[in-house]
Amino acid sequence: MSIITVDHTTLRVGGRTVLSDVSFKIEEGEFIGVLGPNGAGKTTLMRAILGLLSPDGGSLKVLGGTPERGNSEIGYLPQLRTVLPDLRVRGRDFIASSLYGERWGLPLLRRRDGDAIEATLDAVGVRDLAERPLSDMSGGERQRLLLAQALIGAPRLLLLDEPLISLDARHQEIAIDVVRKVCRERKVTVLFSAHELNQLLGTLDRVLYLGNRQAVLGTVDEVVNAPVLSRLYGAKIQVVRADGHIFVMSRGRDVERVDHMHDHDHGHSHGDHHH
């Protein structure tokens, strides 16, 4: 069964066409690496899947229906993550706030919700963060906590928007491992956006590459090659394979690396486009 069906879909944000007439299908239990230059529509696509943005044309089906806000079957890790600077709330209460957070009333949780939180804390290896206030955590620690949060409540679909940003190499590996395990063991479908393809090479089933208002979904070999990427970047692209790694080059420069540096400078303004 297809978890996500995108059929001749057009997505616009503030008058700008981000994706134009794209079509693809994502099957249950797939680990999809979402790649592409900044502004190519990775975040926009995820927001459309969440039902925060309606397509301007074509159709979009998620988990067998029209996307709707507040679908508890979707776990989401947003790219723009505001954390109040002096937040003296402990990690456990921070992630517990997301459970049924859209319902009115007092934030009381049932015992099994509490158990689900504890189990996820262990699965992601963030038990040590449960009692510490957010204000005492590093960016990477908050990130791991948020990843744990996205996994609570056994979602069928995980949308992870740049989950590796601000993690060091060791924790990037751990994060990818955790998500892979969830994907394989619980047959959860994963959309994992990233700047670097190489870290995900051993894990992903297929690549969804966005660029130039288009989207191409396929295996690494089908998508990450010079003709397809040249079309998506709108520039002449070379794909160099060396020692099990893939480098996407434009005029002798590593495109992914340049993007990544760019993101450090303008990461925040980039996120603002969507608000």
Partner: protein, 286 residues
């Protein structure tokens, strides 16, 4: 020894409560302190304390304006803070969290308060009471009004508490899950406006921080849990209000001063405690 202390305590309490104005003051201050401690906890969590401060100053203009047209100050206070709270919420987080914009409006409101006082000179004697509170003058009607307002405030807060916490801690995710951010933040500022109006009756518009910011900020230094934080915050506010009244009764100092000094003391003691013990749990070795 214990009996002597108990007898002394008993004497103190009978002495104070022999006066009806003290009983009234304890009842009013107690209710308002609990409401302030709980609402203030979210104000501090959301980093909106300055907005709370501005609301109280806008309330001052409302209270003096009400005097000008012959109404009780409480209703003017309520009307102005509520209107301002809802307007701030409607303008959105970007405006309502901007220090400069709030500062300008705050000063403007105080200016209007002064203008209204200028035209209603017999009201001037009440200006001090508005600015610094006059809990010893609370009567039965006021206690009833404060009880009703307090119940409405806490009831409304309980109704929006879950999405409020979610929207405060993780606005992006809350929006994705369908929390109406603008509505929640507007409703919260309206709740703050109610709490500020009540609090101003006890400690005055200039000192609402003593009950609405001091206790919750202190609580957040010593505990990081949500429920424990709310409990500590409300208890601290209640203790400071009642101890302040007792202190004022025996020293003849103004009540608001006593509460203010206890609030500051409570905050700095908790700050020192949390600094000495370091983070709540030791940071594991890398």
């Amino acid at each position: 020894m214990i009996t002597i202390m108990a007898t002394a305590m008993g004497t103190i309490i009978t002495e104070m409560f022999a006066y009806e104005f003290m009983t009234n003051a304890f009842a009013a201050a107690g209710m308002v302190a609990i409401v302030s401690g709980i609402v203030g906890y979210f104000l501090v969590m959301r980093g909106q304390t300055f907005a709370g401060h501005a609301l109280s100053h806008i309330g001052f203009a409302g209270a003096t304006g009400a005097g000008l047209i012959g109404l009780a100050p409480l209703w003017g206070l309520l009307a102005f803070t509520l209107a301002a709270g809802i307007a701030m919420g409607a303008l959105g987080e970007r405006i309502s969290n901007r220090d400069v914009a709030i500062g300008v409006i705050l000063a403007l409101a105080l200016g209007f308060g002064l203008l209204f006082l200028h035209y209603y000179t017999s009201f001037a004697t009440q200006a001090t009471a508005l600015l610094f509170g006059n809990v010893l003058a609370v009567d039965h009607a006021m206690i009833v009004a404060l009880a009703v307002l307090g119940a409405i405030t806490l009831g409304a807060l309980a109704a929006i508490m879950r999405p409020l916490i979610f929207a405060s801690l993780q606005p992006e995710l809350a929006e994705a899950k369908g929390v109406p951010l603008r509505f929640v933040s507007t409703a919260f500022l309206a709740i703050v406006a109610l709490a500020v109006s009540e609090c101003a009756q006890i400690v005055g518009v200039l000192l609402v921080f003593t009950l609405m910011v001091g206790p919750p900020a202190a609580a957040q230094r010593v505990t990081t849990g949500l429920w424990s934080g709310l409990f500590v915050s409300a208890s601290l506010a209640l203790a400071e209000a009642w101890l302040g009244l007792t202190m004022a009764f025996y020293t003849d100092w103004p009540v608001s001063f006593c509460i203010a000094i206890l609030s500051a003391l409570g905050y700095f003691v908790c700050l020192t405690l949390s600094m000495r013990t370091g983070p709540v749990q030791p940071v594991p070795a890398p």
